[in-house]
Symmetry: C2
Subunit: 489 residues, 2 copies
């Protein structure tokens, strides 16, 4: 085989790192906690960006760009937000290097180039953006402001993991301003819905939509809506959050508007983001012991054509014809005309890279008027007539997309357990893991205590849950609905 | 009028700032030298990005992403490059804030969170990328590497100007690695050609293609190819550069490969970039005293439809029909159905924003089966029959694109002068400005001296120039071709 990776059941964590490396998604860098996103990984991000950007624009949002740096005085203006990020931010203190007199050829920070005010590399942009919105908003006619930005942010994480948690990551952050509380909540929910639709329809990753408990909310938010996915190892992944920020930032930055009745009011806000972390979620939802598995809608290459055993002229003629037919249907294809490696090596390589469909074209098959089509998700192979190959593949890509979603959903269903006691919670977490639905008395203290005892957090209070009288698994106090506990990434 | 701006002949510099502000392209920020790119300005950048990205991909390049930070030890590895950027870079020295004990509610840099090695916020990414390429390149089979990234960079400029020179800016930077010198030079020239084609065919901005003199080369390059445009005030703008880096970075970062003959060789490199500065060039090439003028191919909104005087039902019916017809042709349209402002106000507003074509629909016109079409570039108005309006507009957009290019080319031709003495150079620079073609003896000393005396630099040694014996305007030494002198942004 071309490359081997650790088996999931041996060491899930190492399996993940092996996939990231061997499928060519990312690489380590010389900067602590920062990764290089390699071309194949970045191509997946580009597919995600294109789809999300389309969904944002269809709902009236526009893109803009705000500075990378936040002056310290702005950073600290919204206290909860500042407190939430202060311990993990990169700080620019100087603006010049000079030659080091003691080390010829080396540079040192020029002590004469110290900034009067330090600049924080944005961990998120509410502060710099709301400081700008103050100038942009005078009256109700200036509202709503529906702005998104695609950007890099930095959070000085101590334990990093490619895509899932890195010091620098890429994301989009929406920042909207509204005249009323209702409208702002509505906006946060529209985005919450878009995130869920993107996760399920494009990533083929089922998610539970819900609200965060107070403990788990974004620093500075009055309410955080979240989509939570379940990874194959039974751990949860927070995949996208949309925050109702109330008037917290408007008050911190004095952003007021004149209503149509000429009254001055503070503006209402939302913010929302998804990041390159989604790629981590994509990997851990679908991939297997042979490598990456990608849903067709986000696969940079959807179909690979491999001549067997070599790219001989009559084979390449057919390959080109299939390629043309598929391209006309908007399907992305790669023809592997490399002569150095053998088909078996190539098959393993494309399995590692998660290309959804592989077409093998051999001479004997051609004599029979067929090609061999292999699907990555189930590894089934089928002989398909040359006359119908492009229609077959078009439908197969849809089938794979749907199958991946259904498979992940079936896994999640099997890995979701109603638990009614602390003992049961611990037992389920330690054996099968997954989502545990349990009653909770609604207090932060109880949540903290359960976290301490089990390392599980409340992933969300589901939007759609059956109201059910019950008793908190820790305190026995009354509860009206189950919430989701899980250990999480 | 809705908004007024300074006239070009009164104060060109203020005119530029007025356009940037009143057309809604960018805004100042709380961070010294950093701008906010507003939605309308960012939409132009998105159009530029989409086209450039397509051109890069068509020529075999892929995108990736490398870290924002460069550890100081890597930054200083290629000495010329380090020297070129050391005096203007933002430096991260700490990774945590803490509560300031002397100022309740305020934060301070935590002295215990000092980094062992300072991190430079990338002013360009050669260092971090070539440090990574060392791991990616072993043999000739790994070459060429044709990678681009879309990113933000920071250069601590003292005098900033929106789009033209800002401390943080957005750009793309290509970084390629090749087995031979010839192939690397070829790559740099392919990109040079793409930049020129983009400038002329999409920005409608004529450029002179050429090479930089040694003085003006990118720090660390063996050769720099540049496209130089001429702004309406007679100053030059460097619009895009493509560098042949020789083996300088390969040697600094020890990047070698095994040839097919199993010999170890250093790798050859190029890098190339264009930035949001192009938006400054776009503004200054076409705009006038009524505001921004945009070439149709880069205009976020190509056609605006204004009901006269109000959006009444029969008018909106026609507006919607025209909108549908234009959208079907891939033309972007805005229908202004706002009822608050009068048509005259709207006309001025859309002129300020540089929307190429305006369609006015009035009741009396409708009775006659016509609408009024105004083009932004010449401000001509025409009555056009309802039956042919969408075909008319489709062709008009092409005409405007072509007219803008021809107009700018005619201006440049008129503003290009052969000069044969220092006196003449100074006189031309002080009166009409523009490109001055003059003989130069080829030395850096002479170039420096001319710069000192005239504030003009050698913009480029043109790719296409007539070989002509002559004498250097400063030293009288022999010269074989004229080069372009100009004062520049």
């Amino acid at each position: 085989m071309a490359k081997e990776i650790t088996l999931r059941e041996e060491n899930y964590s190492q399996w993940y790192l092996d996939i990231v490396k061997k499928a060519g998604l990312s690489d380590n860098s010389a900067v602590r906690g920062c990764m290089v996103i390699k071309p194949y990984g970045y191509a997946i991000w580009e597919k995600m960006q294109a789809q999300l950007d389309k969904m944002f624009k269809e709902t009236g949002h526009v893109n803009a760009y705000f500075p990378l740096f936040v002056p310290k005085s702005l950073f600290e203006a919204e206290e909860k937000n500042a407190e939430g990020f202060a311990k993990e931010c990169a700080i620019v203190t100087h603006y010049r290097l000079k030659n080091d007199p003691d080390n010829p050829g080396k540079l040192m920070v020029d002590p004469n180039a110290k900034l009067e005010e330090e600049l924080i590399v944005r961990p998120t942009s509410e502060a710099i953006i709301w400081n700008t919105y103050r100038d942009w908003i005078q009256s109700y006619r200036d509202l709503p402001l529906l702005i998104n930005q695609w950007a890099n942010v930095v959070r000085w994480e101590m334990r990093t993991r490619p895509f899932l948690r890195t010091a620098e990551f890429l994301w989009q952050e929406g920042h909207t301003a509204h005249a009323t509380k209702e409208e702002a909540i509505q906006e946060a929910k529209i985005i919450h819905e878009i995130y869920a639709r993107f996760a399920e329809d494009f990533m083929a990753m089922p998610v539970i939509k819900g609200s965060k408990s107070e403990n788990e909310r974004f620093a500075g938010a009055d309410d955080t809506f979240t989509i939570e996915a379940l990874m194959q190892d039974g751990k949860a992944l927070q995949a996208g959050t949309s925050h109702f920020l109330g008037q917290n930032f408007a008050k911190a930055f004095e952003v007021k508007y004149l209503t149509s009745e000429n009254k001055e009011e503070y503006v209402w806000a939302t913010s929302w983001g998804v990041s390159t972390r989604l790629i981590g979620g994509l990997i851990m939802t679908h991939s297997d012991d042979e490598g990456l598995v990608l849903p067709p809608k986000l696969a940079p290459i959807q179909v690979v054509i491999v001549p067997i055993p070599k790219p001989e002229p009559e084979i390449m003629l057919v390959a080109d014809r299939i390629n043309d037919e598929l391209k006309a249907k908007g399907i992305s294809v790669k023809i592997d005309s490399d002569e150095k490696n053998r088909p078996g090596f190539k098959f393993a390589e494309y399995e590692m890279k998660g290309i959804p469909v592989r077409v093998g074209i051999g001479k004997r098959d051609l004599e029979n008027g067929v090609v061999e089509i292999a699907r990555r998700d189930t590894k089934e192979k089928t002989q398909v007539s040359l006359d119908t190959v492009s229609q077959y593949i078009e439908k197969l890509l849809d089938d794979i997309q749907e199958n991946l979603f259904q498979r992940a959903l079936a896994y999640r269903t099997a890995a979701t357990t109603n638990v009614d006691s602390m003992e049961q919670l611990l037992e389920v977490l330690d054996t099968k893991g997954g989502f545990c639905l349990a009653h909770w008395d609604g207090t932060s203290e109880t949540e903290e205590k359960i976290k301490e005892l089990t390392k599980a957090t409340i992933r969300c209070i589901p939007d759609e849950s059956i109201l059910e009288e019950g008793k908190c698994i820790l305190t026995g106090k009354p509860s009206k609905q189950r919430v989701i506990f899980a250990r999480a990434y």
